[in-house]
Subunit: 229 residues, 2 copies
């Protein structure tokens, strides 16, 4: 790990992380299991929706996750890696994250979707720029905006505008989501040396990683504000 | 309704059912709610799968249903019809079908998916030929083979090959699925004059409809046989 931050040098033609870096498989695999678990979470939480249109929206968001899973499955296969074997080390951390942040209302579910997806998207978008072109393209593809966020923002904003206790409750909920995400990310990093090395290479060094975390916290605050929280 | 069967006259350039037939909206709507309910059924039943690959397969099948829903939503919108209002009359019959055929095992779930989808596909494929080109194209598109059937056939065949009691149980289950599907189809037809008129126009007359039902029963028997049941 260097003293300078190669991640900042966007004009460089050499990516900070080579395509054959073993952490790339881990990166695709954790994204892939993230899509699977998000699919099942959304499908289950849709039962909380008071309307059929809410249920359909959740189903559409869930279907988009599976289309992304397929992209990652193909990308891993092209690297000679079986998606199931690759996902195995990440099942526990992601299942634990979802179990510890199980929404009890439709609004909690919507906030979790918006905030959780946002945290993940921030992280991957930040490091995508330091990845080899084809790897970064896969990451950007599966994190592409699926166009459902505005519905979520409207639902939550309308609900909290006239209900202060709901707003306070969802504000605490949003903080808890960030905290749990950080806890599980730390657990994964401690277990997976290749992935940790990839993130360090992509961010430059520990200092670059600290700045990345700061930017992610700022992104989280902006999203909470967009929700009226 | 004529004495002859226009459905049999495939060389005719005039479709038996005009594009503006009000039953077309019903046809798209019942298909659309069918996709939604199949999505949630598959997502819930995936919990019964003993393997992660089974869960992923169920999620992929569910995602394909939502892509089909989107096609129908667009087709209805182009006809000036809101998908939610249009689906409303069909919610009860489809919910009742699923409630009365709730699988208790992964194999029951797989048989239901394969057999239930097959019954629906037979019906819609039969009448698609009598529909105006653009309407028939939508119907064929949303019923297109999603390529997951072979997995289901293999799973079920392997499971029943060496287990006679499982085979007997699943054979009865398959019969019950057909019976419940017919019960709910009759309920829908009794409620929806436009849809019934469309099906009669598409099949030619009551005699044509009886022949359609015979062919659907033959198709069901062939699918059960493919499953080793």
């Amino acid at each position: 790990m260097g003293v300078e931050s190669p991640a900042a040098d966007v004009s460089s033609s050499e990516p900070a992380v080579p395509a054959e870096h073993p952490g790339v498989n881990d990166l695709f695999a954790v994204l892939a299991y993230g899509e699977i678990s998000a699919f099942y979470r959304l499908a289950q939480e849709a039962a909380l929706s008071p309307t059929l249109s809410g249920k359909v929206l959740a189903a559409k968001m869930a279907a988009a996750e599976m289309n992304h899973f397929r992209t990652l499955e193909v990308a891993l296969a092209e690297r000679g890696v079986d998606v199931y074997a690759a996902m195995d080390p990440f099942i526990r951390a992601l299942d634990d994250y979802h179990a510890s942040t199980d929404p009890s209302t439709w609004l909690e579910s919507m906030v979790k979707f918006y905030v959780g997806d946002g945290i993940a998207a921030d992280f991957y978008t930040e490091i995508a720029g330091s990845l080899p072109t084809e790897v970064g393209a896969v990451v950007r593809d599966v994190l592409a905006e699926t166009g459902h966020s505005q519905f979520v923002v409207d639902e939550v904003r309308n609900a909290v505008q006239e209900n202060r206790s709901e707003r306070d409750r969802l504000t605490l909920w949003g903080r808890r989501l960030l905290g749990e995400a950080i806890t599980q990310a730390q657990y994964v990093m401690a277990q997976r040396d290749d992935l940790t090395e990839l993130v360090l290479s992509a961010t430059g060094d520990l200092n670059g990683m600290a700045k990345l975390i700061e930017r992610m916290q700022a992104g989280h605050a902006a999203r909470m504000s967009a929700l009226g929280l």
